[in-house]
């Protein structure tokens, strides 16, 4: 929790996620986090970056082995 919550707060400050209180399926009050439009854009960007990195890594490692 010492890692997760500061990270959530940071994302919220950057406007990538939005938080709200709501009730769960078994009717308990909980906090829900949604991606914002900016968040979805950022996610796509990060995803692409990760994939690119994975590809580079696999090629490099593939060649070496």
């Amino acid at each position: 929790m010492g890692t997760l919550y500061p990270a959530l707060v940071r994302l919220e400050q950057r406007g990538l996620i939005r938080a709200r209180w709501d009730t769960t399926d078994n009717s308990r009050r909980a906090r829900f986090y949604d991606l914002t439009a900016a968040g979805r854009k950022q996610l796509a960007k990060e995803k692409a970056g990760c994939l690119l990195m994975a590809e580079i890594m696999s090629r490099m490692l593939g060649q070496e082995v």
Binding site: M1, G2, T3, Y5, V9, Q13, R14, R28, R29, R31
Partner: protein, 882 residues
């Protein structure tokens, strides 16, 4: 950090409690879920709770981490730090009072000083693009800064290539008949180009036209203030007539609200809303004034540079025109040049030195206050060394330590800022009262927040910087050292000690220089007051009479003056009464050239002197003594042979080797014999010497504007009603203006010098007080550091005088260094003041001795407290403390 994040964090500062509760609730939710899940798996409630908490990790540290992320990590604890700083400051009232006192004094003095400097020097003049406005003078060897002649103006206007506007103005007061009471109004004659050059157009009506610049023109423009206060803002004023100088003048315009006339030192009103009426300045050439158009210099020229033109370029352009005039009219313009000065510099005029003294003195005081606060905050860090070492040992990082120190600075700054601002705001009216009434732009000197905040920030920055330097020195070491050091009662590191000593010595230096400067001014003032004035100001009533051109020819003016003096003598208490063209010490500066029979002028010599007229009793009335020959007598009338009386400066200048009496001087195309020599009166009391001057009998040259002096045995002002009655019994419409006794005129002439002196004295006193506080603080701190050492010394048999010698020698050593540096710098300060000095040299030996002695005296005073602290405890206390 993006701006968005910043904003979000900033908002979080204000909703901290709410956000913390949210985080808290959210975390509990997860723990609760975890517990439920555990219980579903069949764990006992206690066991499920235990496992859930293990998984979630330390609750406290997670919420700390969220808190840090939420807001500005560094700021969060600031409130706590501030509260702690306040508590610890309250426990050390000595430190708090000295620091707050020094900084508050610095803030207050500087707020006042910058109000003056800004209002007088820096604030742009209230005209469109004031930087492009300049004043123009004619420059020649004998007259470096002469008003321009009208012909020169016309030529410049016609042929210049660098000016966007050029105008003349000259003060020519007018008399208004208002409800049967004559009154003198400040009026200025201007050319049609005057308002356009300043970039101003009338609020009502029209400007003067080129065709109005005639002797016969009877049109005026009124000031907004005059129009609204005296004429009830009459909307239909245009086209109406006012009775001025016994004639009807038609109002053609009203100047815009708050329009300020241009100030200056010669035939000008003060800068500000000081003018009631503008009238046309006649430019036409007639038979009578043909020579005067080129040869008379009494009009002030003001010009606007064309866009992008420098003063130097315009000067060159006008010099070209002057050179051409010199070729065409060598009698008037040979070897003359144009001289241009920025308008802003001219407006300030002779008060520039005073303003610069104020500025320098004020800056020095701020510097002193800053050094003082800096020294104190270094001392404060040193006394907190142990506490800071403990903090560091417990893991506080640099920023936390710095914050602890800065929060004390912040509190001191807030308190002294509030006090300093209060004092400055309270003293502002006193300052304006202290300034001479003819100080330029007095109305612009107002309290300004910007000045106050600048002073406060400078003081705070110095204090914070010094504190941080000390902290940096301390944090460079292993914290354990700090902890141990204290146990060994060692004193501060040599470097820090030297820093503090240096700061105090620097204060001593500044105080020494200020003390020296104040001493020079004081000695000059004493020397000036010891000189003979050349007149006796007490017991004389003075006023001005201005004859209108209409109905008063020379003969009638002379007859009027003779008759009115006769009637003055009928008033009980009047001893003598006379008229002249100027009163002493009013800065009269009207010169005329002349020829002396049998005197060959040296090459380039300007044979001229102040020309004046006086009637028989004038010198008696102002109390001026006759040195040789005789005074002007009633028999020196229009029909008698023309004579003059000259002053001693005149005889010194032109008759150094031979006697002046009975020599013939040709003035204004008449031979006049010198019949008497009177003692010198300087133009202004602070002038080094009097200028040559001569007086013609009023009956032979009756001027249109005359000054009266009436000497009485009692209070001169009690004569006023009788004097008025006497004048109005002859002419009901003649206004009596500027009625006052001679005393205040003399006092006003000395006001600027007194002001500079008082300012310097108060700065020096403040500087000495601050330096004394500085010595006190450093010694008190040292004593505290060496408390145990001193007590042990006393216990081992050292006498109290041994200890006192130690304390005093420390203080005096600093005084010696500071005083010596001060003495080295003092002559430079003296030279800066040179224009205000009289009877002392800039490196006056007496003051060079006195200033360091004062510094030593102040140091001894500063040492008294710490000395007593050192020996207060007997030897027993040391043993008890162990």
């Amino acid at each position: 950090m993006t701006p968005r994040e910043c904003l979000s964090r900033a908002f979080a500062l204000f909703r901290r409690r709410e956000l913390e509760a949210q985080t808290e609730a959210e975390m509990r939710f997860h723990v609760d879920m975890e517990i439920e899940a555990g219980m579903r798996r069949g764990l006992s409630r206690n066991e499920a709770e235990r496992r859930a908490r293990l998984r979630a990790g330390s609750h406290a540290s997670s919420s700390e981490a969220v808190k840090d992320q939420r807001a500005f990590a560094g700021l969060d604890g600031l409130v706590v730090d501030l509260r702690q700083a306040w508590t610890s400051l309250r426990r050390r009232p000595g430190f708090l009072f000295t620091a707050v006192g020094a900084l508050a004094a610095g803030v207050a003095v500087n707020t006042l000083v910058f109000a003056v400097v800004y209002g007088v020097l820096l604030r742009p003049l209230p005209y469109r693009e004031p930087d492009r406005l300049v004043r123009i003078f004619e420059q020649s060897l004998p007259q470096p800064k002469f008003p321009v002649s009208i012909y020169n103006y016309q030529e410049d206007l016609k042929s210049n290539r660098t000016l966007a506007g050029l105008a003349l103005y000259v003060r020519e007061d007018m008399q208004l008949m208002h409800d049967e009471r004559p009154e003198q109004l400040t009026a200025v004659a201007i050319t049609d180009t005057f308002f356009p050059t300043l970039g101003v157009s009338p609020a009502l009506g029209r400007n003067f036209l080129a065709s109005d610049m005639l002797h016969s023109a009877r049109v005026v423009i009124l000031s907004y203030a005059f129009w609204s206060s005296r004429l009830n803002a009459d909307p239909a004023i245009l086209g109406k007539t006012l009775r001025l100088d016994r004639e009807n003048w038609t109002v053609i315009g009203v100047a815009p609200r708050s329009f300020e006339h241009v100030g200056g030192s010669y035939r000008s009103p003060l800068q500000g809303e000081t003018v009631a009426i503008w009238r046309p300045l006649p430019l036409e050439t007639t038979k009578e004034n043909e020579g005067c158009q080129k040869g008379c210099h009494y009009t002030n020229a003001i010009a606007r540079l064309a866009p992008g033109v420098s003063i130097a370029a315009a000067n060159e352009d006008l010099n070209r025109i002057m050179a051409d005039l010199g070729r065409r009219f060598p009698d008037f313009y040979k070897d003359k040049k144009a001289r241009l000065e920025p308008l802003s510099a001219e407006v300030v005029g002779k008060s520039r030195t005073a303003v610069l003294i104020i500025m320098t003195g004020g800056t020095l005081v701020l510097l002193l206050a800053s050094i003082n606060v800096a020294g104190l905050s270094v001392a404060r860090v040193l006394t907190r060394r142990r506490e800071l070492a403990i903090r560091r040992a417990l893991g506080a990082r640099g920023w936390r330590i710095a914050r602890a120190v800065l929060s004390e600075t912040l509190i001191i700054g807030a308190i002294s800022g509030a006090i300093g601002l209060g004092v400055a705001a309270g003293l502002m009216p006193a300052l304006r009262a202290l300034l001479p009434a003819d100080f330029p732009r007095l109305h612009e000197i107002v309290f300004r927040w910007a000045d106050a905040s600048f002073a406060l920030l400078a003081g705070l920055a110095a204090s914070a910087l010094a504190g941080l330097v000390a902290v940096a020195r301390e944090t460079g070491k292993d914290p354990s050292e700090g902890l141990q050091e204290d146990a060994r009662t060692a004193s501060a590191s040599r470097g820090t000690e030297r820093l503090r000593g240096g700061l105090v010595a620097a204060e001593m230096t500044l105080a020494c220089v200020l003390c020296f400067a104040a001493g020079l001014l004081m000695r000059s003032s004493l020397a000036l007051e010891e000189r003979p004035h050349g007149f006796r100001p007490e017991g004389a009533l003075t006023f001005e009479l201005a004859f209108p051109s209409q109905g008063y020819d020379a003969e009638r003016r002379a007859a009027f003056l003779t008759e009115v003096v006769r009637r003055f003598h009928e008033i009980p208490g009047v001893q003598s009464a006379g008229f002249s063209t100027s009163l002493p010490w009013t800065g009269y500066d009207e010169n005329s050239s002349f020829n002396i029979k049998g005197y060959t002028p040296r090459a380039g010599e300007d044979v001229s002197a102040r020309y004046q007229a006086a009637d028989p009793e004038f010198f008696d009335a102002i109390g001026t003594r006759l040195v040789r020959g005789r005074m002007i007598s009633p028999s020196d009338n229009a029909k008698a042979a023309k004579v003059i009386v000259v002053n001693e400066a005149f005889t010194r200048r032109y008759f150094a080797s031979s006697g002046a009496l009975h020599r013939i001087v040709n003035v204004w195309d008449h031979d006049r014999r010198i019949v008497g020599i009177v003692e010198d009166i300087r133009d202004r009391p602070s002038d080094i010497a009097a200028e040559p001057a001569f007086w013609m009998p009023m009956a032979q040259e009756p001027f249109g504007r005359v000054q009266a002096a009436i000497r009485t045995s009692g209070d001169p002002l009690t004569l006023v009603p009788a004097v008025r009655a006497a004048i109005h019994s002859i002419d009901r419409e003649l206004p009596v203006s500027m009625v006052q006794s001679l005393d205040p005129i003399a006092a006003a002439a000395l006001a600027e010098r007194h002001f500079a002196l008082r300012v310097c004295e108060s700065f020096a006193a403040l500087a000495l007080a601050l330096a004394g506080i500085g010595v006190y603080a450093i010694l008190a701190y040292t004593i505290e550091q060496r408390r145990r050492e001193i007590d042990i010394r006393l216990a081992l048999g050292a006498t109290r005088s041994n200890v006192l010698v130690m304390v005093f020698s420390h203080g005096l050593w600093l005084a010696l260094i500071g005083g010596a540096t001060g003495v080295l710098l003092a002559p430079a300060a003296g030279r800066a003041l040179a224009s205000l000095l009289y009877g002392v040299t800039p490196a006056d030996v007496f003051m060079l001795l006195v200033a360091p002695i004062v510094i030593v005296a102040v140091t001894v005073l500063g040492c008294l407290g710490p000395g007593w602290m050192a020996v207060r405890n007997g030897p027993i206390s040391a043993l008890r403390a162990q």
